[in-house]
Amino acid sequence: MPTELSKVAFGRFGETAMWIIVALASGPMRAARMLDEVRRLDGQVGPGALFGAVARLERRGLIEPVLNGDRQPAYRLSMRWHGDSLDYREGLAR
């Protein structure tokens, strides 16, 4: 993952944003599970930092809200991340 690029685009939320993307690569998930995954990958992360990163990713169109099978709000990677034109560097640097 391009840590230096993510820090430029996301400030102190860069690491958390990256791990959110890694977590969502396995499929849509709710914020609580996302928090578990990010904590597993990145250590102690609080909900304030999680939602700060989520807001930035959403703003840049890198993730999008969806309703899961229980009609509960969740997040997934946006279409930008799928197909042959995947370029996370472009996405993170925007």
């Binding site: 939320f13 709710r30 914020a31 609580a32 928090l35 578990d36 102690q44 609080g46 909900p47 304030g48 930092a49 999680l50 939602f51 700060g52 989520v54 807001a55 930035r56 703003r59 509960q72 709000p73």
Partner: protein, 248 residues
Amino acid sequence: MSRLLRLYPAAWRERYEAEFIGTLQARPVGPTGSVDIVNGAIDAHLHPELIGGAPHAWTHRLPGLIATAAGLIWSWYYLRIVLAAPEDWGYGVFIAMLLMLFAVLGDYMAPYARQIGLTIAVLLAATALAGIQPLSVIGDGMLNFALGAVAALLLSGGMLTLAAVRAGIGAGVRWLLIVGGLLVPVTVAIFVMGGFGPTDPGGAPAMVVAILPYGIAWAIIGLRMTLRGSMTIHDAPTTEQISEAAAA
């Protein structure tokens, strides 16, 4: 813990609050988590563009920074009187008052022009009457003192109210700040200085009880104003404001 979410901007809460509360219920956090939430709230205020708001120009932070500085200078000035008991009192209070005046001037005042005008008129009238010497025969000068006190309370209370309005503080908390930062301390001080309390009448402790909370209230309002951002007089309206005005 979810009470801390009130620190976030309204637009942010509208978008994320329900999910945030759900996350907190599923994964409760401790004291460290509280710090994280407060940090997140500060970040949300500093970056309104994340939830569709217009980004703040650095000038939008100026009134809040000035108000915070005024509150801190005011508080330091009166603490210094007690802690260091200086011979000279310096110009701290004048600098603080000047900064308070700069902090409240802005476009947001326009809808309150009538109330502000009325307050200034009463303030000037009370000040003028307080200076009339023949009135001092009434109650051995107590009438002059009372008029002066009314003018001082109107000035300090009015300024604090304007700052709170500019900081986007609701009426309930606004009153709390005025009562806690001004009315109660001044009442206590008058009680003490009147010789009813244990403190040396007229001494520095009484003055600090009366005046220090006012500085603290200004610092709190200033911090809120800084985080929220506020248009300054010379700022051009944002695109959103123009759209809102056109829609209205």
